[in-house]
Amino acid sequence: MTTMYQDRPLGSAVHDAATEPFFAATASGSLRVKTCVSCRKPHWYPRPLCPYCLGDTEWSDVTGKGEIYSVSVTRRAGPTPYAIAYVRLDEGVTMLSNIVDCDLDSLRIGQRVQVVFKPAEDGTMIPMFAPDPG
């Protein structure tokens, strides 16, 4: 079976105090995570206070490389099938995302992926992942 990726409308991104610095970075092609200035642990999704110790947190850029922790092709939630996935970044946190720009039926857990950015309705760049050509 082959299910080629197709773009689907992403709606508008939520812009608030928590997301603004993140989307400013994605606009210039960077993916960032938050790390605690006290305990130094990274976490996802990004919070202003560390979920391990409630310390203050700071942004740091990541490589955007990782592997698929789990993936499911959702086939009946609208006209366009899409692959929802958890991607474990090489920096050690796992984020919910979509896998794009490939045959969705070929995706496997453990597969290497690389971040790409897709525009939301309002132009905000949303990080997603595509198979890493290596």
């Binding site: 958890y86 474990r88 919910l96 997603m128």
Partner: protein, 401 residues
């Protein structure tokens, strides 16, 4: 004080074991109620549970409801029902909330805060066109939404991600998951109120449309209108009524999320709530004669069975196969009403019906074709929210007195 071991009497003081009984249980027979309001359905469930117990409205002095109840917390429904509660609790952990309510009601009764606690649930997701492939409605300001909504998480794919990982880690198969639906359907044949009463086979499940890999349509629960109610009462009151006495023995609750980004989909919150309940009840999984296991999807059942200790982690697939969950056939009779997979999932929250069928089993009032002989120890387990991201888990252990 610190370091001192609690003796048995102090342990009993700090437990809900034998402190409260479930005296009334009622499941609304409707599965589609376009002509009734949600508030009316709550009231009909309250009336049903009071009639079942042989209690009156004015006996109720504690009221419990969750997010399905219209209005602000318990305010609107307590007023609508004509209650004057001296103890209220609107804890919401999704579909597992009603098991939490039983535990909290038992605690309140043990502390003298109320004598007769009413728990109600009702909703009309079927009439309102709700679906497991539509985005879930959540309140404004929910902190995870900006980070996840663009990826279109819906109910079914947030369970499918857990199923896919379970298959990867442990070799679980779609055939094994299908056996869970087959067991539920076998039971539902005998429930005249069940939404789906037709027997199905493993092949039927596998041939049903793929909704979100690896979950097929028949791996998913029904969307139904309806509701239910429970009455948790002081033991002296339960013994004065003309109904079999069902004791609350132990309970556990937990919230499991994404673990700060250390996502682990191999276990559910039942791994945390289950041991707490077994410890309080003073029983072992092998002693449980009947289990109501939350069945939003087949994978939900499989993971909770492992996490509660009915089998080893990773061996759930083998455990549920070949009819092992079918009453009279297998080792662990489950969801003998047909469960959420076939009978009813009112308000998209299956917790209360899990407790109700466990009470029927303990009273000996389940359908004769599915009644567990001499059922004296039962468990109910709920998982509310999304197995693949954030969910509330609750475990409840009950016995026939």
């Amino acid at each position: 004080m610190g370091g001192q071991r609690l003796d048995m009497s102090s342990r009993d003081l700090m437990s809900i074991r034998h402190k409260a009984c479930i005296a009334g249980a009622y499941e609304h027979p409707t599965r589609k109620a376009p002509d009734k309001t949600v508030a009316q359905l709550h009231a009909e469930c309250a009336r049903g549970a009071l009639e079942d117990a042989g209690l009156r409205l004015k006996d109720v002095d504690g009221y419990f409801c969750a997010g399905d109840a219209p209005g602000l917390g318990a305010n609107s429904m307590a007023d609508y029902l004509g209650l004057r509660p001296r103890h209220v609790d609107s804890t919401d952990t999704g579909g597992s909330a009603y098991l939490v309510h039983v535990s909290h009601a038992a605690q309140a009764i043990a502390m003298g805060k109320c004598n007769v606690a009413l728990i109600t649930l009702a909703g009309r997701p079927r009439s309102e066109g709700s679906s497991g492939v539509a985005p879930r409605l959540v309140g404004a300001g929910t902190p995870d939404v900006p980070w996840e909504a663009p990826y279109a998480p819906v109910t079914v794919n947030m369970y499918a991600l857990a199923a896919a990982r379970h298959m990867y880690e442990y070799g679980t198969t779609s055939e094994q998951l299908a056996w869970i639906k087959v067991a539920a359907a076998t039971h539902a044949q005998h429930n005249p109120n069940a939404m789906l009463r037709e027997q199905v086979t493993v092949d039927d499940v596998l041939a049903s449309p793929m909704i979100s890999d690896p979950l097929h349509r028949l791996d998913c629960c029904v969307v139904s209108d309806g509701g239910g109610a429970l009455l948790v009462v002081r033991p002296e009151i339960a013994r004065s009524l003309k109904r079999p006495v069902v004791n609350v023995l132990g309970a556990g609750e937990a919230i499991k999320g994404q673990l700060n980004g250390q996502v682990d989909l191999t276990f559910s919150g039942a791994a945390w709530s289950g041991p707490r309940a077994f410890e309080e009840a003073g029983v072992k999984p092998s002693e449980i004669q009947y289990a109501s296991i939350y069945d939003s999807f087949t994978i939900t059942v499989l993971m909770q069975i492992e996490d509660l200790g009915f089998c080893e982690k990773g061996k759930g697939g083998r455990f549920v196969a070949d009819g092992n969950l079918i009453s009279g056939v297998g080792k662990l009779p489950f969801n003998t009403d047909g469960g959420g997979l076939c009978n009813n999932h009112p308000a998209n929250r299956g917790g209360i019906t899990k407790v109700i069928e466990a009470v029927r089993q303990l009273r000996g009032e389940a359908h004769p074709k599915v009644q567990v002989p001499n059922c004296s120890l039962a468990l109910a387990q709920g998982t509310g929210g999304l197995l693949g991201s954030r969910h509330g888990s609750a475990t409840l252990i009950m016995e026939r007195a």
